[in-house]
Subunit: 362 residues, 4 copies
């Protein structure tokens, strides 16, 4: 099969190239770029020299030649290519936000400032978080638009989902406090990602109003079967790859006593063991979700370059709140890797085909 | 005046040396070290070569020769030197946790695993957060033990104090999610601070149970005049200096509606302006606390190498929660700088003497 | 086949584990560790959780069970295991310096402070730089001790070899100025690799007297067919992976005029083209050595996580000196990857088996 | 006195602001910016908030109001302001390359692609390396144009000058292999300084042809009293501040034997001691040049945030070559700090006024 990548020269596009070039079921790549049309990908990414070669064409040519199409264009410009793929029966996996909101155009418009160009397409789309929607993805028999999740929503949803689905969460607000590596900002040099401005610095941004908030909230609602109040704050951390999400979930059915002169109660310790077992059971058949042993913490450099999402389970000192921590590589499980996982599901390949890299600690 | 530093070869000690060597009221340093007794500080810290010179002596000799004594020893070993200073009427400023808990020995013992050796000393001590206890510090007329605050408690308390003192906070749990640079772990090489293990990584640690929790909680209670439920989670970020604290404070007197299909309400925007004005007013006479203009965010690299605490004010999308973000240099306002600020107050110097460095963005 | 790794818990050992676990011809790993005997590798390297599992045994048990044995022990302790492998006819690939000097015990002793325990073994060993000794490695038919090259010698030799072998180099001293990522120092936390001491710093070390000097000099002599005067200076750079070697090779047969008021001469430009062509031709059949297009520079992040050695060709402004720059990932081509390449050659596998990872720019 | 800064919003300009704001002889700053005219400096550099305030004006207004004028404009646009300062008798200290070449317009034109607009001005200029030209600077009695040296030339010249001036260097080519922090590239975001492209990477650039080459060569010639063949290669290192220059100086009057089977000879060791003493003597009255104790190495993080140049002395294993290593903070001694040092000399202030910061190791 041939895979096509529309918008191949951005960071997500280049990560797709890197991962798909080693995919056992893909024997050719078709690449497009508006900015670099006519150039070769290995001239732009010299790391590909002698490993990947390909002329950058027009998007239309990519769709024509490929059997499955990935799109890593900016938000708001890819619907026309989705339409073309639907019309010729090819799976379209979109890494932008365009197909993450299904028929909820109102929320998309509020946060992304654009309307749907082809509203009917969105009824065909599936939100591509396999751990949530694997059956929906399979059911499409390959005729599908996949809205590949955002990086923060992937980490946040996987970290909170078992608690929400199993009724552990109370009705209080869930807080997702997260940090991302700088590659999350893409390839275009702007001052916020200029080395001297972001090295040796922690920078919050879009505090309480980042546009991944409604996407996370929607996932939480699906998992919980009810609306879940949510606050989400992202930060930039001085590293290349990784997202760490620290998720505070007020527990239902606890009677916490705020008394820091005492160690955690037996009940709290028992509850931690119980929730850890529940998470482990919940994800036991998932190929990419690792619930870490109790006592460990999820850390970004243990999932680096892999499609894993690591999750660690903690309860605060006084027993009131589950603190679930999740770590992903933002460019893999948070972007290109998950897109390939979606392709594998949609196309009937082994779900981990091309995604078997072992995390490199350093 | 001569300043003495007991435990001068750790990172906090070395930072005291660096800052005190340029202090206009200090004309000599007396330094001690157990590990390096007899060596010279500039041989251990070659950055001091030709700028600071001093033989490392015994602690007793330092107390004898100095007019004011700083102690940057590990927790639990400094009381004997505090006693000696009290007996000869010299201010003792302790950078360890030993004198942060006053007469609350129970909490100290629970979290630090040690008892007080000289309980009577703790009645003489003042918790050295000038923004909270300036009058107490002054009232001692120089005969005082100062328990210099922890780095996280400094950032957390300064970020939350106005909201707590002015009754903005509701009764819900406050969450302090914070990240620290690696210098916070001190000078001893251990695996967690080994470059290949922490570069390019975000690592939570002591999740929900770090021993700065009771110190923060105590400060919050003092500010609010009531117990304040608290969760605190620290993270290591791959940078040398800085603490960023993202503080979630549920607001009293709000009726939030969780509806992410709408932008923030007029009430929320007005409330943000109001709280920003309140913070600005609260800190208007403070020399080191900067409430940033609305729309800005506190970032660690804007306070680097300075004694400033920057604070930015935000309310989440749905209006339920104040998100106050504070940034300090963990080695300055979070440690040695604040200790010098305390000395300045205790000794009657200008409060910013020796602390006038302008932050270096890079 | 089963592969054994003696000393599996150091960084080179762990990198062998990571790469061999994905090797198509290896279906089992046998691991040993003195420090962690009885523990499991995935408990020490949590990044391996659910991907690699294995109890850490005694070295003897590893040799017994494996078909090919890698040793990543400290210098000077592995000969006994080499002997055991030779006696049972198993290839022994040693990542320490013990078998890099063949019968030249004098040089080994001068620089490593140890004598050979079993001198006769060293006559059986081959220096495992495939680009230099591929035929020797093959000729052993699997009964061989391989002395896997040092990281700096790999980068330096591959960068200089074509010039030396083809007589481009004059008789002047060659200078190799190189920088390495911190992983080169291994897993043990010491102050030089403590994050706060090496982040944001360039540190030369062992200036003019690093013990990779005789290894590089030996390789240069083999390539040139004569002794080649050499100076080698290593530096630590604040990054995890990578070695960059900037190699200054005085050219034979040039008449440089030192006149910086003029641009490079036509002769210099033509010579650059000629040398670039020569390098390209020299390495045209090598799977892992990429001579970059003229005008490009070798950079460490374009070979990251791969077994490539990138080389760029430059001549200084006045035409006197070839500046060849080579970049490798110190943990792959500079260590574990090259060891696997050697195994592939020795065992008759495809030379790039298990080593096909495409470099990740970030 | 009032200091003016033309081009105050670039990194060198901002560093001038930071340092001059704490200068004991400067009681006001006048700032200009073309890009931000009418804005305030503290809105652009929020780190200055509450410490430095100033409206950004036109350059002409700055010259009018200031007693001494710094210019940190791009190369090739500042002569007109130099002329204006000369006409009204105000010292003009230029951080660009425009006044580094004196009357040698040919070399300037070859490397910077521009002609002199006012050739007569260049006869009035002094190359502002105080260790070389202090008397010339003083002799001008304040009526002077100072060409502030480049960052690499400062490090290279200070490292090599004693050897050249005292006849230690032979006639062979000197090689300067240097690495710089990313701030050296300035404030404008371009891809080479985009965090994901330069973090965790060593990148050579302008190999053998960087335009600091003629500036270094000129300084070497002045110091040696003869032309000195030179090769200079810069690298980008993943750090914010610092230049490390590793300088290979072939020694005169040595008979090296290239034999790595032996340790360094007694003669080599004695020669090292002798050269170290010579360097120490040479710089004994210099306020900012520290010749480190034998056995130490110059490292960038020991001069960070200071105006020091650290120098360490080594001879290669075989005795042929002096390896002098120098470290500076590229933004201080390599730029703004040295400019202030020049102002201090020209204006008759203490040479270290405003420059007494002690290096911060971290």
């Amino acid at each position: 099969m041939k895979a096509g990548i529309i918008g191949a020269t951005g960071y997500a596009g280049a990560e797709l190239v890197r991962l798909l070039a080693g995919h056992p079921k893909i024997d050719g790549l078709e690449l497009s770029s508006v900015s670099y049309e006519g150039d070769h990908i290995e001239d732009i990414y010299l790391n590909f020299f002698k490993k990947v070669s390909g002329e950058l064409k027009k998007a239309e040519a990519v769709i024509e030649a490929a059997d499955v199409v990935f799109s890593s264009l900016p938000h708001g410009v890819g619907e026309v290519f989705a339409k073309a793929c639907v019309e010729c029966g090819k799976p379209f996996i979109d890494l932008s936000a365009d197909f993450r909101f299904g028929s909820d155009e109102a929320t998309f418009s509020t946060w992304y400032g654009k309307s749907y160009q082809y509203p009917e397409l969105h009824g065909l789309s599936v939100y591509g978080l396999p751990e949530l929607n694997r059956q929906l993805l399979k059911a499409k028999n390959g005729r599908v638009i996949v809205g590949n999740p955002g990086c923060y929503p992937t980490a946040a949803t996987l970290g909170a989902m078992p608690a929400l689905a199993k009724g552990l969460a109370g009705t209080g607000t869930i807080i997702v406090d997260a940090a991302s590596g700088i590659t999350g900002g893409g390839r275009e040099p702007i001052r916020a990602y200029h080395f001297p401005e972001c090295a040796d610095a922690m920078s919050p941004y879009k505090v309480g109003c980042h546009r991944h908030t409604p996407e996370i909230a929607h996932n939480f609602a699906v998992a919980a079967g009810r609306a879940v109040p949510l606050i989400f704050t992202p930060h930039l951390a001085p590293m290349n790859r990784g997202i760490l999400a620290t998720i505070y979930i007020p527990l239902a059915d606890v009677q916490p006593v705020f008394d820091l002169s005492r160690p955690p109660s037996k009940e709290t310790i028992a509850k931690t063991v119980e929730i850890h077992a529940l998470y482990t059971e919940f994800y036991k058949n998932e190929p990419f979700t690792r619930v870490l042993p109790l006592g460990s913490v999820a850390v970004t450099n243990r999932v680096r370059q892999s499609n894993f999402c690591d999750i660690s389970i903690h309860i605060d000192q006084t027993g009131s709140t589950l603190i679930a921590i999740s770590a992903i590589d933002n460019m893999v499980k948070g972007s290109a890797g998950q897109a390939i996982q979606n392709m594998n599901i949609v196309c009937g390949f082994a779900e981990d085909a091309g995604l078997s890299a072992i995390p490199a600690l350093f």
